[in-house]
Symmetry: C2
Subunit: 382 residues, 2 copies
Amino acid sequence: MNAVRQIDEANRTMTLEAGVTLERAQQIAHQYGLLYPLSLASEGSATIGGNLATNAGGTQVLRYGNTRDLCLGLELVLPNGEVWSGLNTLRKNNTGYDMKHLFIGAEGTLGVITAAVLKLFPAPVDTLTAFIATKDLNHVVQAFNACQKQFDAQLTAFEYISPNALNLVCEQFNYLHPFADEPQAHVALIEISNTSTQADALNALHQSFHSHISSAIEQGHIRNAIVAQSGAQQTQFWRIREQISAAQKRVGKNIKHDISVPISAIAEFVKITCAELELHYPSIEPTIFGHIGDGNLHFNVSRGQAFADANALMAAETDINQIVYIQVQKYNGSISAEHGIGLLKRDWLEVLKSPVELNLMSIIKQGLDPFNIMNPGKILNQ
Amino acid sequence: MNAVRQIDEANRTMTLEAGVTLERAQQIAHQYGLLYPLSLASEGSATIGGNLATNAGGTQVLRYGNTRDLCLGLELVLPNGEVWSGLNTLRKNNTGYDMKHLFIGAEGTLGVITAAVLKLFPAPVDTLTAFIATKDLNHVVQAFNACQKQFDAQLTAFEYISPNALNLVCEQFNYLHPFADEPQAHVALIEISNTSTQADALNALHQSFHSHISSAIEQGHIRNAIVAQSGAQQTQFWRIREQISAAQKRVGKNIKHDISVPISAIAEFVKITCAELELHYPSIEPTIFGHIGDGNLHFNVSRGQAFADANALMAAETDINQIVYIQVQKYNGSISAEHGIGLLKRDWLEVLKSPVELNLMSIIKQGLDPFNIMNPGKILNQ
């Protein structure tokens, strides 16, 4: 279950069995000078099958989409024991219902994915990595929109780090704060990528990024910026972003929310939700970070000053979830942007999804898995 | 049914009712300095609802995807009369089965789309348009791969025009053949786009394209190239591509095939299929053009020298379809890349799709539309 079935370099596809790890999939693409862009903290152990079953996201969704968008075809074992060989390698195929999308993100409740055809992309030759500091989250969103407008698909990542999150990760791992004299800055990690092999094109993109940043500083849209000067520094910048979860773990339990809202609503959602939480739990300090370009924030609440101990925090979990999810719903957001439903959020799904949509999902589940033998109890309460 | 429900500039989405024409949708995006990238010959009359029901393709799929990829949410009337308000505006939402993908491309057989949330993109500021001439289709595919590797998402179109197709359209509409002394050249129309507003970045991309083409000519990969020198000339280049179908219509009936194969198999598929056709119908001259980057060719057979008159051509239709579709199947291709199934290809679907997949489609149809009242008889024979 972890064989490489086919690499088609000129078609930019690879067909892998479900047990191949994401890291190996990336390496296989790399051997052909191509890119499999899915990128997650757990890529060393996460498998292609798992990525597909959960429609995994990660840091490159802004440019390349979710796992769903990277998949052209699936091979599955269906609940009735039949094998569907849907290993389509085509970019365009309008012959009937697109069945693969039903199984991607279904968390194994409709069938078992055994192999998949994945899209490959030209590998970036050069990458530019920078931190920018802004006054508030509103300015981070504005900076994102300006950056995307200018660099379009060459903008491959735009990650937000709140002051709390940045201070925490720097303290816990002894990292230098990138803007040491602005500990209250709202920071974004920006990555610009270029596939061109021509020196002039590479230089032009660097100059273009520098001009873009300089003029944003002049106009007061952002306060400061640091561009990584070496590959080692790029790695260090990314490590700060990627270690936030580990830093949170070090200081004890926390209540995680993997939410999304429209990009236009991010700043207001955070402001209102923090105010609501503060009202009930004075001195609460959510640790917020995530993928601004996808409208996806990790909105995590740890003990901080607001709770006497970890037990007090965990006792408030249901209430805190409720406060956060009610705001998510108010802003037409999602209570699970990239982590799925599983068991933990199943009851919330029943409350927040419309009865019409829940019924559609039930019809599908009952039609394909009438005896409820595929990962029973996950997503749907049946 | 043709109202604009919402434009969310900072979220890069617009929510339109299904009756809005594609052309109007493009204009609405344009008013906000944004791009709705779907582009079709019939955009003046085609509607958003129709685009979604058929998962329409067109010339910009290479960069922006099919209609499916441009849609974040749907509002539908279901067969039981209920309305599903699935107007999701989020880039990431992993809460259960992704129902919208079932209705997109279902040709109205599962429900009636009444509104949709569509993605918007930064609008290109500058576009570079060029024709290249190569020795054969194999070299066109190689040129595509080299171009995509270099320019990645800035390569927004790469359209193939066979010698037959180019000579026909130039004759019928009195266009200048772009390579008049090479009437047997296999030609591609290339478009490179840039969203940058900085003059240096624009110049660098132009220089980069020129160097790319010069070195491809030096290395013998391509024979010749012409870069459009003005907006008027760009329009003229595109007109040649877009008028091929009209030119075919002028010379009488033809048998159309909207097929796709893996990009790596295009050249061999065309060679073998033409040879098979020639064997049965000497002097047959397929007119071939299409979207190389999507593996999607329009493989059309008109009367030419091979048939005494239009009746003789049409009498051979079933046989010619069979010859083409058998090769499509051999190369793991699709008999409908972007035009759908409808009634015309329904019987072919039954022959070419696996029984397992046909059964999956039937389960969905029966579950959602048990009385078969939604566009009955289309896609599925029930």
